[in-house]
Symmetry: C2
């Protein structure tokens, strides 16, 4: 396409990123080549560093550069609260809001009969183990307000039983809305107005 194999390979790889199609991948690669010193070399270094070190936390599913992530090893965040999110992007959205001081549990999706995603695929067994290991008093469900998100919330409620306080983000999360699209203020309000399930 560019009559150069190295450049074509880079375009093909970039086009596989979410949000970039072939055309925007070509534009991005041309931009990178034009800004070679400012952007291309730093990006090469940065990607190589992340490729060498990034991994999922074995405890919570967050991404970081150690087997156990910074939040799970931070003793000041062992306040007895675990916030359950679908995706690492949702964890980041919660952190940007800056109001939650506990730890997280990243499911990696929601239960889905359609896509044959069951509890084992979602780190739900690991969540149940953590309740005891980390003396958790409250589990806050911060799942997307979708059908699959609500199904997952009900399933987790059944598994936890009555011994534990289970809450969910409430006020402010629009029906059908996805957490990562919300502004920080809306997330703050939803956390403060959380209700017992």
């Amino acid at each position: 396409m560019s009559s150069n194999r190295d450049i074509d390979t880079l375009i093909d790889l970039m086009a596989r990123l979410p949000g970039l199609g072939p055309r925007s991948a070509r534009r991005a690669v041309l931009h990178l080549i034009r800004k070679r010193g400012l952007l291309l070399s730093p990006l090469a270094d940065s990607i190589a560093r992340v490729a060498a070190t990034a991994r999922e936390c074995v405890n919570c599913g967050n991404v970081g550069t150690a087997d156990v992530c910074d939040i799970c090893t931070d003793e000041t965040r062992a306040n007895g609260e675990i916030c359950v999110v679908e995706d690492v992007a949702d964890l980041w959205a919660m952190e940007r809001a800056g109001v939650f001081k506990g730890r997280y549990h990243v499911l990696g999706g929601t239960l889905s009969a359609m896509d044959a995603i069951g509890p084992e695929e979602l780190r739900i067994p690991r969540l149940l183990d953590r309740i005891g290991e980390e003396t958790v008093g409250e589990v806050i469900l911060a799942l997307n307000a979708t059908i699959d998100g609500m199904t997952t919330a009900h399933y987790i409620a059944d598994q936890l039983g009555d011994g534990i306080r289970l809450t969910s983000l409430a006020q402010g999360v629009p029906i059908g809305g996805e957490l990562d699209y919300l502004d920080d203020g809306t997330i703050s309000a939803a956390l403060k107005a959380r209700r017992v399930l």
Copy 2:
């Protein structure tokens, strides 16, 4: 943001690509980390290779991995025709159409009083030199159908004088349209129906 400096650096760099904002950069980086083996490492290698080798052709402005690009060194393309485009993305669009067998000249933009872009910034002097050096019989203007594109076409027509056949893509390029958005068939039709200026 991700509570990890390496990952945050990568998100910041990705967010500076055209077409990606902060949110899509975060999504892209999470996707890269999840597909570490399949995507992140190959991308790191590919970017490093392009960063080390990519450069602009000193003759025509195309990008490649040598001082003079593959098209400029291909003797079968020395057919006396030079196609003038604004951008490398437009050159790629012409190549995808597969109907033009000559060489290119990439201006790197259009004349613009507003942005103070004059002929020197656009490789127009180099174009005039090439006419003699490469015994060019026809210059085909494949500029975007915008005001600045047409101003640039008129300026080039004045510079070339009467000794050379000067044509432009005609039928099929919509008013205000940009070449890189067109399908291959439209580009083919526009090239075949080109008219003498």
